[in-house]
Amino acid sequence: MIQATDLRKRYGPVQALDGVSFSVAPGEVYGLLGPNGAGKTTCLSLMVGALGVDSGSVHIGDRGDPRIPAVRRGIGYAPQALALYDDLTGQENANFFGRLYGLAGSTLRERTGAVLELVGLTDRRADRVSAYSGGMKRRLNLACALVHDPPVLLLDEPTVGVDPQSRNLIFDRIESLKRDGRTVIYTTHYMEEAQRLCDRIAIVDHGRMLAEGDLESLLAAHGGRSVVRAVYETAPPADLNLPGLVENGELRFESDQPLADVARLVDSGHRFRTLRIDRPDLETVFLNLTGRTLRDT
């Protein structure tokens, strides 16, 4: 469905994208996870044809080049910036972008109504966008990308700066779009979003793809071991086979099978007042790959 091959893009002295390749299957949600400035937006801009590649190629669907109008007609793009007209109402914004994609008459009315319903703005459709909250604008931004019913969606950080309620609504809608069989490329610097929404994830930093795969394979390959912290209820029994060290009544150890190890300890007479198991996540993956956390960058 989507094929990006060895994409390279340079802005003056900065190599924004340095040989990124990936493919996305139909109906798949593909995440580009990385800190700000990693090259995610540049990658999407190349995918949608807003920028020309220095080298490499992008193929979307059967026809290929996203600069071909027929290919663009099949792409819905929600840019990171809120690309909306503040002096128009929500409905007028959706209508306008629908018309640009050739919709008219009853089809336009139906699609506009459907997307505004989808993002929960039906009640506010007649209000000017200038009166919307940040979350509502984000949702309208998404609606305008969906109004022409595209099979491919490119969403550039669609939850930046929104309230938790709007964020959850956007998550729900993207999941429903996924169930409808749409192909989605989703950029974010929030690992929780990537973990929740994406079938496969690419870790991007400094314009390079550091790792790619589904969540489990990324964790397995780059996440490291789980960390167990257990505080004893009473003094720990003498046990020469402890998997870790005890300090101030707390046992701490790393394990590939933390639950099995904890069960074995309980069976052998260890009694814990609290137990905490820190499984590796994408934050850990990014830390292991770059030496930095996503939040540091």
Binding site: A50, P69, P79, A81, A83, L84, L88, L100, G102
Partner: protein
């Protein structure tokens, strides 16, 4: 075409929703037209030309007669005042000049011989034109009194008898001169006696047309100058102020294009399955429609409310269309002069204000000095004003209209080409 129309309608809707922008496009130009129209209108009908201080000394009857004769001239306004005040006001530039009429003779003006009135005019030597004009008016007033007196032979004879009686006590020192004046007055008295008799036989009024001293019967035939002229000040100020509407439209859309770039909506437009040409055509169409609508609104008010008369409707329609096209091109050019709203707004208003100043948007073209009129040839505003005035009151023929319309189309096309080229490169 539907995409072009969609972009145009969207831009027009945004313009209409922006009350501040709408003020500059529609309300401000109308206020300008009314303001300048009122100024030019009142200066044409109410104000009078030379403000003159008047001082009368001596015989009050002759002073009053002379003052009345001088005051008949529309070009002067007389204010009575003492001589010192008059000198002071002229010296300070508060009065154009003063006229001092002195008639010390008693019993009427003596036009021959001793005791005839004296007239002083005080005026700045730099005011050569006004001085010459005022001297002419003073002479006209004085000789109208002489002619008036001569048209009444009986009164004239009484005056001559009185002057003959005074000859002995005059200051004329030389006997030959006294003799010559005496002989002139005696002969004149004899002549007037014969005229008086002839009149008594044929004309009971005593001031008939047969009198040799009757003023010539001057008939004034009013012939309108063939050269075209505006019928009212509104015919000047409406085309002039309409330029502010065009300037406002061009500035508003130029800034609007930058806002679209900054907000990312222009990118979104570019990612839609429409060409760059369609996007720019839509924006140009919106600007064109706004410019034509603003022009139609102002001209409509001018025609329906203020009686602006159009000599050529096809010429006016073409002028409005070509001017609107020209300002669409300027809009496109201005929109690429900066990357921020502030930069584009600053550059745009600077360019458009200079165009307006040199092109007749502030000072009417016919009031401009020749060097400024020539300098204005680089301004789209001048050609726009000229084309509209050509259709409203200058009576331009189709051939006359070709030059301003051609220049407007040329400027518009150049602006479109340069603006589109730079915009494409910056993308």
């Amino acid at each position: 075409m539907s995409a072009v129309w969609a972009v145009a309608m969207k831009d027009l809707l945004i313009l209409v929703r922006d009350r501040f922008g709408l003020f500059w496009v529609a309300v401000f130009p109308l206020l300008m037209a009314l303001f300048f129209g009122s100024i030019f209108g009142s200066s044409g009908s109410g104000a009078r030309g030379l403000r003159i201080g008047f001082i009368g000394t001596g015989d009050s009857t002759s002073v009053a007669k002379f003052r009345a004769a001088l005051d008949k001239a529309d070009a002067v306004t007389l204010d009575d005042m003492p001589l010192d005040s008059a000198r002071s006001l002229v010296a300070r530039g508060k009065k154009t000049a003063f006229v001092h009429f002195i008639d010390t003779a008693s019993g009427g003006m003596g036009f021959f011989g001793p005791g005839k009135p004296a007239i002083e005019i005080g005026i700045d030597p730099a005011r050569k034109t006004e001085a010459g004009y005022l001297e002419g008016l003073v002479n006209q007033a004085y000789f109208s009194l002489v002619a008036d007196q001569m048209a009444r032979p009986n009164d004239m004879r009484s005056m001559i008898q009185e002057q003959l009686g005074q000859l002995d006590s005059t200051t004329i020192e030389s006997d030959p001169e006294r003799e010559r004046v005496g002989r002139l007055l005696e002969n004149l008295d004899v002549f007037l006696a014969s005229v008086d008799t002839a009149q008594a036989q044929g004309d009971s009024t005593g001031m008939g047309a047969q009198s040799p001293f009757a003023q010539p019967n001057i008939k004034v035939e009013q012939i309108t100058v063939a050269q075209a002229a505006p019928k009212s000040s509104w015919e000047i100020t409406f085309p002039q102020s309409l330029q502010w509407a065009l300037i406002g439209v061009a500035a508003a859309f130029a800034v609007g294009l930058v806002v679209e770039r900054r907000n990312g909506t222009l990118l979104r437009l570019r990612l839609a399955p429409i060409s760059r040409f369609q996007i720019l055509a839509g924006k140009g169409l919106a600007c064109f429609i706004a410019a034509v609508s603003a022009s139609a609104l102002l001209l409509g008010i001018g025609i329906l409310v203020f009686g602006v008369r159009v000599t050529s409707w096809p010429g006016l329609l073409l002028s409005v269309a070509c001017a609107a096209y020209c300002f669409v091109g300027l809009m496109m050019f201005i929109s690429v002069l900066g990357r921020t709203e502030q930069a584009v707004a600053g550059a745009g208003w600077a360019i458009l204000l200079v165009m307006s100043m040199t092109g007749g948007g502030m000072v009417p073209l016919f009031m401009m000095p020749s060097w400024m009129f020539k300098l204005g040839s680089i301004s789209a505003v001048k050609w726009s004003v000229l084309a509209m005035e050509g259709a409203i009151w200058r009576g331009f023929s189709p051939a006359d209209m070709m030059l301003p319309l051609g220049v407007l189309v040329g400027i518009g096309t150049a602006g479109l080409a340069v603006g589109t080229f730079i915009l494409a490169r910056s993308d």
